[in-house]
Symmetry: C4
Subunit: 291 residues, 4 copies
Amino acid sequence: MLKKRIPFLNLSEDEENRLKHKIFDIIFETNTRIGKLFNIILLFLILASVGLVMLESIPSINARYHKTLVALEWMLTAIFTLEYLLRIYCTKKHWKYIFSFYGIIDLLAILPFFIGLIYPGSKFLSSIRILRLLRVFRIFGLTQFTRGRNVLVIALLQSREKIIAFLSFVLLIVVVIGSIMYMVERNHPESGFTSIPISIYWAIVTLTTVGYGDVAPVTTLGQFLASVVMIIGYGIIAVPTGIVTMEMNKAAKDDIPKNTEVCPHCADDYHLDGSKYCKTCGYKLNPHDKK
Amino acid sequence: MLKKRIPFLNLSEDEENRLKHKIFDIIFETNTRIGKLFNIILLFLILASVGLVMLESIPSINARYHKTLVALEWMLTAIFTLEYLLRIYCTKKHWKYIFSFYGIIDLLAILPFFIGLIYPGSKFLSSIRILRLLRVFRIFGLTQFTRGRNVLVIALLQSREKIIAFLSFVLLIVVVIGSIMYMVERNHPESGFTSIPISIYWAIVTLTTVGYGDVAPVTTLGQFLASVVMIIGYGIIAVPTGIVTMEMNKAAKDDIPKNTEVCPHCADDYHLDGSKYCKTCGYKLNPHDKK
Amino acid sequence: MLKKRIPFLNLSEDEENRLKHKIFDIIFETNTRIGKLFNIILLFLILASVGLVMLESIPSINARYHKTLVALEWMLTAIFTLEYLLRIYCTKKHWKYIFSFYGIIDLLAILPFFIGLIYPGSKFLSSIRILRLLRVFRIFGLTQFTRGRNVLVIALLQSREKIIAFLSFVLLIVVVIGSIMYMVERNHPESGFTSIPISIYWAIVTLTTVGYGDVAPVTTLGQFLASVVMIIGYGIIAVPTGIVTMEMNKAAKDDIPKNTEVCPHCADDYHLDGSKYCKTCGYKLNPHDKK
Amino acid sequence: MLKKRIPFLNLSEDEENRLKHKIFDIIFETNTRIGKLFNIILLFLILASVGLVMLESIPSINARYHKTLVALEWMLTAIFTLEYLLRIYCTKKHWKYIFSFYGIIDLLAILPFFIGLIYPGSKFLSSIRILRLLRVFRIFGLTQFTRGRNVLVIALLQSREKIIAFLSFVLLIVVVIGSIMYMVERNHPESGFTSIPISIYWAIVTLTTVGYGDVAPVTTLGQFLASVVMIIGYGIIAVPTGIVTMEMNKAAKDDIPKNTEVCPHCADDYHLDGSKYCKTCGYKLNPHDKK
């Protein structure tokens, strides 16, 4: 277990451990009062910062309040960055956290801003911060929410291979359909079939029944083929549904309630209810839990 | 049980109770001949008033018959208002009715008109009256209808948490997708991606496979990303279906026929067939029923 | 059992009965060689006549070959009319046939033409003749086809009440959604929300995820509401699927193969395999069947 | 079993047989190291050639690099042609291979190019080569992929008859709907309903919920009918899903893992795991397999 001292303030090891524990409880723990408070504040800060980015993207508003928006964004990013560093600091296995699902999201949440300093455009990616809500949701032990999600996740994972098979099949046929349509429509530029890639784009837009209409066949043959494509799409749109429904039924059965404790040692979450030790590293779970 | 006398006509308490009973039977009761008649008339009045609102909204027609339409609307609203007051009057627990599902709808059905006197636009909301048909449907004991509905309602309630989980997930990703697409397309105003909110709107329009085409990517990268989004949408559109289908199967099993009596005491409806007393307040059900 | 003689050629009753039998075998019977031949010819005549109507509807072609097309149409309609009369003549219970499902279709197939002589437009309805193929399909004992269809029909009938409940629910909400959107967008004519009926049309176009884009919100609020509507639609589009899937499972079980004999007496079709007598009128089935 | 000698190099029969075996192992075999290598190269060549065709279809790029692209295409097609001939040569039953599923695809992959020499347009069909990936996928024994696919294929085959029944039903109604809409909208050319075929195209675009909006009703009646069509479509879009889901459930049960050996004798693939002899011609399977 690697230890790292904060340079400037020099503490004895166990003073530091106590500090780490305190921080951990505040940031990660769901059962302590202060932990809950922290996460509620976090929730609002995240929403605020996403709102900021959106406002900035609206020309009229940005024109007016540019300075204010930027200032606020600086502030919020600063907070998130500090939080991120503390998260690293207080988890025992730093790297484990950094490369954990939430660790990566936490990083992605602040990165775009800094990249934005060099490539202005990318700052709009900051709204990726919204994904951090996933943790907050989980933390408030919206068990029914998480349980509902579990069923979905399990079902999707279960049907993974079938869906991949299905999608790769779809990809093959859209290429074929796209090429054929391009051949048919290429002499009518008004139809919008200006290249095979565009035609493939059209094929996807059509098969998925989105149908923007920015590209649409104009020749009789083209429209006939399009009709065939749609009828096919009509038939195969049923497939993913069938898959998921099937798996959903299975998943629904073995849907076990999870709790939302986080291992202070390896930052692993999702342990079975009432588990005393981390299922991954065997470290004792929330010793401060007063339940 | 609070009693209230009508001021102007002074009746003995049980005269008034008899009166209330009479009114109740006419307005709420489904089994008496006069009750049925009343509700049939009500049905047509509701349809008429909704038709009125629609006609008013058609410029050409409104220009011609404005006066007539307004007059008729005044009349119908007057009737509905009176009816509403009588409903309050004749139910024993006034507030119970007022805050019951149908009580609120009855209020919403007349409110827009009066608000419309101040803010003209809002009067078009009057067509919300159509929702009053729900009661009429129920009242005509279209049991098969109501039973059909029960299965749906149960299924939807059962899958509530899963659907919420699913929707909140969708909301998170549309924000992310929207921001990314905005970054890609923002330098091509003709694409319509003029701000992140608009891009999120596009993401929803696309994921749900509605695809208006008022906003559509024009850059190759944008169209490629859009294709990915559609393929994803193709995959996840299966999820809600899977959920509902699953629950529907369960719901179908425990689908018990309900009858449509209304408790004269607490205005609670949906009692099991042949129940003699209100399942909520134990009050005797339709004593006037001649079956 | 009413008898009718053909006026001009005077035959003894049983001569006539023999004649009727002969005609019946040709027109209705599926097992005699000549019956099959007749129906194959009929199949092509139907397709031809539908093709005709389509060609007539294409301005360029109609301009060129108007005379020919009209001539051919006269001819084909004459044939169909004659056939219709013969069908009436040779079935014992004339009215039973006339008001049977196929009897009505046979009439609808020729009616538009004659109406078209007065109101030119209506002649295009002649393409309704395509529905006559239903009989032909059945007649060629495409059992797998018919069986496949049976499952569908049964499933749809079974889920009838639920689907009605669902659709009437949809109808109520589109009215409400339409009115609200009209209120929001009415001051932006470019959005296309020019009246409540149009707004309801938009609501249906959106909820069903068709999304033409001919009417689309332009205000931020309007687009936000539209997004909500789509998300809702996303959720409830699952409902009919759930219903049908559920019923389909049941239907699949009790899916009994049917044969395609037609009762010469009451023109009732769909008898259980190997039935010797008409399930409706007890009349002996296809006595000419050489199996 | 027909033998054919290569004219120019004269080998004894069993020298030739040995040669054939060698080639067969390289081209068809999945278990030998060299076979794997060959197929990996093939994979990239296929992707490259499809990429080429796409690039050629993009005007700007084609203008610049036309010569290079054509040259590369010549080269790749030459390779594929040679490969095709070798495949014929080394399979014992030549015709069996030529008319096998993959044999036909292999031919279709090179044909467009040669046709393109006469009719330039058709060369874009070359991207049909992408279908050759199907074999490559299979060859790399992506069992989970293939198994996933099996379930789909089985389900679709199982539901074949029901889907045909459904589609033919859909075809009938789109003709009827199309004609009716044409009658209603034909006097408003701006709506785009310029002929019955176009109207049918519209009906399909609408029923499948694609909804381009290139053709859309403008009259009130037309929009009303369109709404009805959409509601219907809403109801029946559930049907194929129901069908597939149902079959999927069955298929999931009897989903047996397949292996991907190819019979050197009749080029039949898909044998049960661990089968020693070709299930079709009893020929010994992959004698070179070192497992």
